[in-house]
């Protein structure tokens, strides 16, 4: 911060000032931490930087990143979607069931499952806007219902026998890059475009920033919110379907643990639970950070039982640091 002030007087300090500015934003702060951790891990456990390990790592966090991007949209409108894990699981199961029990082309089954996710999300959105119910409660209850259906459909058994030709979407590589990772990046780019350059994106921030003002400038709040929940449902379904293809079977456990991970990734990445503040890129970094942590636990042969403890501590650290950063910035 001091650097910036000096830069006004002495033009030669400009690069330093720019650096200062970069570290002023949450997502760049997280990016710094992420890079730092990666360098440290490369040093302690050289196998970390292997292309094999990198592939595993990226594939691992892509699923959570995709779900967390949808969650970020919802959080930006000052809502929350507690049903993402269940929608992911149920959509994965439904895609497997369709492939096994209908004669449809497997790709059509995939599309139908995504549409199913969108439908689940729209139902959430309609209940929240048209009946004016609390998002926390609606999505909590809907999540229970969706998880229940997973059990009803599978009876607890995996649905196996998925056609081989679609499995590459979950398991394959394009060059050094795992396919789910590529899908995640493409979606990220699309969402960044939507949020920064389209009216719909502006409306999302406006609703979260001040809903009553948003209504008074003519934004159709209900419509935007339903869209956002539908997108969140679609993204969850996509993550679930990709995971099903990764596993090669409709496992009833798909989606477990993704709910908290999606919220955690968004929060680490600087998305505010109060709405109106946050970026997709931050969410991707947040998911990556959690992925690296999980990977480090494996590489350093720490008991996997410690993972949740460590993730919890990292979240607390991240939001504390961010609060601190915001306070310093405000004082300036």
């Amino acid at each position: 911060m001091k650097m910036e002030m000096e830069s006004k007087a002495i033009p030669t300090l400009k690069p330093a000032a720019k650096l200062g500015k970069v570290f002023n934003s949450t997502e760049s702060g997280i990016f710094g931490v992420l890079i730092g951790m990666c360098l440290l891990l490369t040093f302690i456990a050289p196998s970390f930087a292997d292309s094999y390990n990198m592939g595993v790592l990226v594939r691992q966090f892509s699923f959570v990143a995709i779900i967390a991007m949808g969650q970020t949209l919802v959080l930006l409108t000052r809502g929350i979607d507690l049903s993402v894990g269940a929608i992911a699981g149920l959509s994965g199961i439904i895609s497997a069931w369709l492939m096994l029990n209908t004669g449809f082309n497997p790709y059509i089954c995939l599309v139908l499952s995504l549409l199913f996710g969108a439908l689940c999300g729209s139902i959430n959105g309609m209940l929240i806007t048209k009946l004016n119910l609390n998002p926390f409660i609606v999505t909590l209850a809907m999540g229970e219902i969706f998880f229940g259906f997973i059990m009803v459909i599978t009876q607890g058994w995996p649905l196996s026998g998925i056609p081989q030709n679609v499995l590459f979407l979950g398991q394959g590589m394009v060059g050094p890059a795992p396919v789910p990772g590529i899908i995640m990046i493409l979606l990220g780019i699309a969402l960044i475009y939507i949020l920064t350059s389209t009216p719909f994106g502006r409306h999302i921030y406006a609703i979260g920033g001040n809903e009553s003002a948003a209504k008074l400038v003519g934004i159709r709040i209900d419509r935007a919110k339903i869209m956002v929940y539908a997108l969140s449902g679609t993204f969850a379904a996509l993550a679930g379907v990709l995971m099903m293809l990764r596993l090669g079977a409709g496992q009833p456990q798909i989606g477990e643990g993704w709910l908290m991970a999606s919220i955690t990734a968004a929060i680490i990445g600087g998305t505010s639970l109060m709405g109106g503040q946050g970026k997709i890129i931050g969410t991707i970094f947040g998911a990556a950070l959690m992925g690296v942590l999980a990977n480090a636990i494996v590489l350093l042969s720490i008991s996997a039982y410690w993972e949740r403890v460590i993730v919890g501590i990292v979240v607390l650290l991240a939001i504390t640091l961010d609060q601190f950063r915001a306070r310093v910035k405000r004082k300036e």
Binding site: R202, A214, K215, L216, V217
Partner: protein
């Protein structure tokens, strides 16, 4: 009745950015008196009460209680010094019982036990209510009570906390005549017991009826304190308004022969306003005057589609329209600058540029992409034109002063081709310079043919700015006045009924 002063303010001043809210206030309160505090909105009454309550610290000056200098640095200190308040918006917990509310924060326990002693709580609550002569089921939920009784609970609560000084801020606004009389009886009784009461009200009859002394505030100054028996309603109103009329009234062309843009016929909404009719013409400024709670804001909210009127019709360019959402109103060609800038005007953590372009996005989007260059140019244009003081259009709007925020909100609608602009308290809490600029702007826009509806609690502003003025009282229109031929006194009398 003793006459020593229990509370005294000496040379208290308080400034907010651009506004001197309190200017060298000297005020004293005697034991056993009901002291009325009057003034127009924005005269400084609330700030003065806030300093008494410890919500705000004066910049300079001293406060004495019973002759000793005190500093009231928090609401808790105020409470412990025996200052209790019955605020305009009652701050009771609606879901708790009467007894619980009275002792909230001071729960009654048996010594040594953590559990609340319900018997004692209810017993004592009953005693405090009986003291002020109120019969009430202490187990009833406060939210189910009429507002008069909620007020009595609030008074009992202040007494339970040992208040010797009681501040009532517009206590009768939501009361019926009988309920108000009951409240006055309680106040008289407390006065006889030697308590001191500060009574803030807009209703002159009440003030004449119950107060011993009256202090008049205007523009942050305490103009005078008088014994009630030596003055009367008319003198008080004159003092509130101020004798020096600033003759900055602009000469405006008569616009009434022009074409009507918006016509409202017998509009009504249950519990808010009834039978409102008027016609708004191109280039006309229609002022709406009336007290807070007279239905002014509710009326314009219904016209703009934020709420929906239950009766009556709205005509736009002579054809009937149903306005069910703000979007519909905006599509017709209306703009609305709401009363509470923070709550429903600005997008605080968003840039000035985005705050301006928010309702304009559809017009500057190609396919899906917002044309950033157009957007920036527009923001810069209005920042310059309206003299918004900022270092950059990318600055978050919350960092601007109130006046500059208001200009940004106005820019939002100027950039759009609107025919009717609705302004609700457009200059509240705004410093004098920005205020004058906004007034000029409104006149300029009207001269260009824009029709304006403007609500203001400042009568001087209404008269100087408007062509015609509608006065509202308790949800009803009390008539129209030509701005040229009316006075603040006349409007105030009608508004106070």
């Amino acid at each position: 009745m003793s006459h020593e002063s229990v509370f005294m303010m000496k040379n208290i001043s308080k400034s907010f950015p651009g506004v001197k809210a309190l200017n060298e206030i000297n005020f004293d309160l005697k034991a056993g008196e009901i002291h009325a505090l009057v003034g127009e909105n924005g005269a400084g009454k609330s700030t003065m009460v806030s300093t008494m309550m410890g919500l705000q610290q004066p910049d300079s000056g001293e406060i004495f209680m019973d002759g000793k200098k005190v500093s009231i640095d928090s609401p808790l200190t105020a409470l412990s010094l025996g200052i209790g308040i019955v605020p305009q918006e009652l701050n009771l917990a609606p879901n708790l019982s009467v007894a619980e509310n009275i002792f909230l924060g001071m729960e009654q326990r048996k010594p040594g036990f953590p559990k609340i002693d319900w018997k004692a709580t209810e017993q004592k609550a009953r005693e405090f209510l009986e003291k002020i002569g109120v019969q009430l089921d202490v187990k009833a939920e406060v939210g189910t009570l009429r507002s008069a009784y909620q007020q009595f609970v609030q008074i009992a609560r202040a007494l339970a906390f040992g208040a010797n000084i009681l501040i009532l801020d517009e206590p009768t606004a939501a009361l019926t005549f009988q309920e108000a009389q009951k409240l006055f009886a309680i106040l008289f009784q407390l006065k006889e017991e030697g308590k001191s009461i500060i009574f803030i009200s807009h209703h002159m009859e009440e003030i004449e009826q119950i107060s011993s002394r009256v202090s008049v505030m205007r523009d942050g100054n305490l103009i005078t304190t008088m014994d009630m028996k030596n003055t009367n309603k008319d003198e008080i109103i004159n003092l509130m308004v101020g004798r020096e009329f600033k003759t900055q009234k602009k000469n405006r062309k008569k616009q009434l022969n022009k074409k009507s843009v918006l016509k409202v016929n017998n509009l009504g909404r249950d519990g808010e306003f009834q039978n409102i009719s008027f016609t708004l013409h191109e280039g006309e400024i229609l002022g709406i005057a009336g007290l807070v709670g007279s239905g002014r804001t509710e009326l314009v909210r219904a016209i703009f589609g934020e709420t929906v009127a239950s009766r009556g019709e709205i005509y736009w360019n002579e054809s009937r329209v149903k306005i069910k959402s703000p979007k519909k109103a905006i599509d017709l060609g209306m703009g609305y600058v709401p009363e509470e800038r923070k709550k429903s005007g600005i997008f605080p953590i968003t840039s000035i540029r985005e705050n301006i372009s928010m309702p304009l996005l559809p017009t500057m989007t190609k396919l899906t992409r917002i044309n950033r260059k157009n957007e920036e140019a527009l923001a810069l244009k209005y920042i310059k034109e309206l003299k918004v003081k900022t270092s950059s259009p990318e600055k978050h709007i919350r960092l601007l002063s109130g006046g500059n925020q208001q200009k940004v909100i106005l820019a939002r609608w100027l950039a759009k081709d609107i025919k009717v602009l609705i302004l609700d308290e457009p200059t509240r809490g705004i410093d004098i310079n920005a205020k004058a600029e906004i007034h000029d702007l409104i006149h300029r826009l009207a001269d260009q043919g824009l029709a304006v509806i403007m609500i203001s609690s400042e009568l001087e502003e209404v008269i100087n700015l408007s062509d015609r003025i509608m006065v509202m009282h308790q949800g009803k229109s009390k008539g129209f006045f030509e701005a040229e031929n009316t006075t603040q006194e006349e409007l105030l009398k009608v508004a106070l009924n």
